[in-house]
Symmetry: C4
Subunit: 316 residues, 4 copies
């Protein structure tokens, strides 16, 4: 029993990398990332008839091997989940987002054994394996944090966009449905034009042709594009805010550590740990440090009234 | 008379939710939101000939019931308006924006009884009921605040956009009106191309074909898209500014409450009230609190010269 | 001579409004703005053949009257220019941007008497009168300030855009010139596609058709749109920065005035003057004032360690 | 030997401009910039058949002279590289980015002597000379700094864009491949539509035609455009951040220099050097200086409790 526990702890160490610097788990992680990327590439290429006809055997073999590895990975992660202090039990791990993504990556391929489905359609669902990459991207966590924080603004942005779309489609239907009954014949039909216009995609497959339609289209476009760009703007400025806050977090740490004039070893380790958890590059951290040092030097190093250098507080 | 006053106060309590936590009015509000959404969906679907032909009876019945409810709602709100300290009288409520929207939601359907109008056109005006949703969106208030605050910048942005549109249309007319007399034959006609180009919609139904037209079009596009994006940029950054200010407002409250080292019950209630009035999520509030605590801890907890922990000021 | 000087000073007072509140010059300014707007509308409508054929006499009369007024305005401004402490002499005023715009507004119509030109083309140049509106827009001054401040960033943005355009056009020419010799036959021809793509206008009149062309087009589009949006982004964030700075300028003024606990009449007048010169609305100014007051109250009104209210400093 | 060393130092002084104010090297730099620009213009014009046929001799001569100058420049820079304290040796200079760009500018034209290649294709590679301009643009350095700093956010933005593109293309292929087998027949084929849609280019050469395709297209467009604009938004706000930081850097310098109430000559020189290294215009620097002075005046010049002017600290 002790052996099993020790094996489970070992599997967990290999898969979840609590010690991020260990070379073995690091290699395993990179291999899994490569496998996922290759899987996505394979699914995309399989839809090209010429390529699939020629390499069918290789594709099927690769899919078989990939599926086996992903099943093995899922089982191993499930089994070793109780080692993780965040989950403790198998059930709680199975309900976590990453576990559901892992399950979605293998389920469609397993279902085909039980239910006969069109293989072409099944293939597209194998693309869900792409989502397995989210586990390895620290920056995605930042994006999710932005979504959570700015949820109210996002909801407002999308609500306004919806109102604009409904008003644009209704107006266009009103002025164009007699001239173009096939493309503006109903509000849902006119919605296709409204989406293409307000998002500024502008395919041009459907455009107003009457004078009233063009005037209405021009006015709604000028007024509406600002609205349609709202969610994008909120997302971008929220992300910027996040980056800014992470940086000032780092700055505060440097300032606290430098308050006594130098950074001791323990402080150095603390700063390094914070830098990693915030996902900042060493170059950025160094730049922040120099700024803080320059700022402290300017404040402490010279007498404010005569401008001459004064001895540092710890020298006196 | 006392009974009527008490009934009026009761109706007001149900409709305007002064006590936001009461379950009854909350349910009524949700039911009204659902009814408005269903109305909008019904109007949109009615314009699809196949659907309307088949379900005409159901649509007409639903419209009749909805209209009755909206009339009842309008009368009830009008009658109970004097209960609201913001209005005091029936007349002042009738002139408020939300009351006008409520009236617009029922007026077109009532007019049809008096004046014979094309029912298809009338239908589109029933979409104005969509605006009734603005009453329930706290985030829209923020957007309106942004519009008010940045009014000067918006006006400048739209003025510049208008100048750009006139110059682009005139230039295109000048160089293209001989080659394409039907689409660039006058400045108003060329305006359709100018709007589609400067907003980057770019339908492609009208494009310059002469060399001079293409050169002019390329130059005006490169110079102009920055201008056309101005109102959108002002809106997005204004919204960001608003969010930022609400957050620092919350931060100031936490800092004031934490100045003595802990948050007492009265302060906790004040903070909660502020959080709700600003529309921030509990998660964001918690995060701000932790940041303020960390900041205070860093400032108070350790001696700036030796780095060792010092006793808190209220402990000495 | 004294009479002439006094008349000149009077003309200057009517035209340049040193006393912004006087009702007479204010009315004259509005009349001139209306005249310019009507002129622009007339020029636009004249290009529509049907309208011009029917109302030719009215258009010509209106143009004659407008031209006379603009000439009179130019002469009056030129004559009274020495009254303005910014110019002092006629020559310096004639070289100022507003004077050049005023001259451009009348010159084309005067030239037609001397040189026989196509009247249709001349008409377009009358649109330069639109620029006369810049004199009356305080927000445009802000935009010009942004251009001046961010000149370095703008230059960088446009340089990068130019490099992207040249690279995109050259690449597209390389892979597509054999398949579509008429639209991608030379780099200048391919530039039309590059501009439409990188600015995201995307007319669709010219698109790559070969596989290599589509792959190159997709890659350059994904990489390039960020670059093309740079000048727009710099402009929007620069404008935001300007607004922000004007607001904190106002805030500093309030803080200085409130430092002694109340705002005296002289301070009130200073603040009002600053508010006008910054172009902030009274509502925004009130909001800033309340924020500063709340902040001061929070800092001064309560003891930081016990949380109880303390007497204000000027009460003790 | 001493002569050679002195000549090498002289060549380095002419080419790398350690003394930025010397008129000779400044003129040489401008001549090289003009030569690069003319080269790019020549390559672009040569691809127009009519122009090339007529001026072939002049183009070939210009190319020969340019190539000779660029080879000479490369050799001179290589030879004088050890003078530069950043490189010290020939080898390290050859591996620096600017040296690689310089090599790419001459290599294709040299290769043609050894290997027979299509001259038209070779011509496009001569456009790489455009990149030689990066040496002279200080603003590009700022952009590269933004790329380096926001690398994590960029990677996240591009990863999300890739995921969106793959999901959009797969979904479109799923619902449209039967209706339009030639344009949505495989996921790579559908990718062309996905790129044109999510970047909002929207050529319109390929659009969904089925109802399911239009519904999917509309939903993915509304959700996706915010994602596609992420890299552009990160770039613009990162650039803004950089500008902001440079300005506050300048501000800190002014504040430090003004701490004793006036700016002495040595401080003036320091500030001027900082202004140049940050690439700020003299106008912006002056504005920052006035702001800092106003701020200090407000803080020092009047007593915070009585509002009366107090003597400056160095007067007492």
């Amino acid at each position: 029993m002790n052996d099993t526990a020790s094996l489970r702890s070992r599997v967990h160490w290999w898969l979840e990398r609590p010690d991020r610097e260990a070379p073995g788990p690091r290699l395993l992680e990179r291999a899994l990332i490569a496998l996922i990327t290759l899987n996505v590439a394979a699914v995309i290429l399989e839809t090209v008839d010429g390529i699939y006809a020629r390499w069918q055997g290789a594709f099927d073999l690769f899919e078989g091997i990939s599926l086996a590895i992903f099943i093995l990975e899922y089982v191993a992660r499930l089994w070793s989940a109780p080692e993780d202090p965040r989950f403790r039990s198998h059930g709680r791990w199975m309900l976590s987002p990453v576990a559901i993504i892992d399950l979605l990556a293998i389920l469609p391929a397993l279902l085909v054994v039980l239910v006969p489905v069109d293989l072409r359609i099944l293939r597209a669902f194998r693309l869900l394996r792409l989502l397995k990459l989210t586990r390895y991207s620290p920056a995605l966590g930042m994006l999710l944090a932005v979504f959570e924080e700015e949820a109210g603004a996002f909801f407002a942005g999308f609500f306004i966009l919806m109102v604009m779309l409904v008003l644009a489609a209704s107006g266009a239907w009103l002025v164009e449905h007699q001239a173009q009954p096939e493309t503006f014949g109903s509000i849902p039909a006119a919605m296709w034009w409204a989406v293409a216009t307000l998002t500024t995609v502008g395919y041009g497959d459907v455009t107003p042709v009457t004078v009233a339609g063009k005037v209405f289209g021009a006015v709604i476009t000028v007024l509406g594009i600002g609205m349609a760009a709202l969610p994008a703007g909120i997302l971008a400025s929220g992300l910027n805010e996040q980056l800014h806050r992470r940086r000032s977090n780092m700055q505060a740490q440097f300032r606290a550590a430098l308050a006594d004039g130098f950074i001791c070893d323990a402080e150095e380790r603390e700063i390094e740990a914070l830098r990693r958890s915030l996902g900042l590059s060493p170059g950025v951290a160094l730049q922040i440090r120099q700024e803080v040092e320059a700022e402290l030097h300017a404040r402490m190093g010279r007498c404010p009234s005569c401008g001459r250098a004064v001895p540092e507080p710890w020298e006196s």
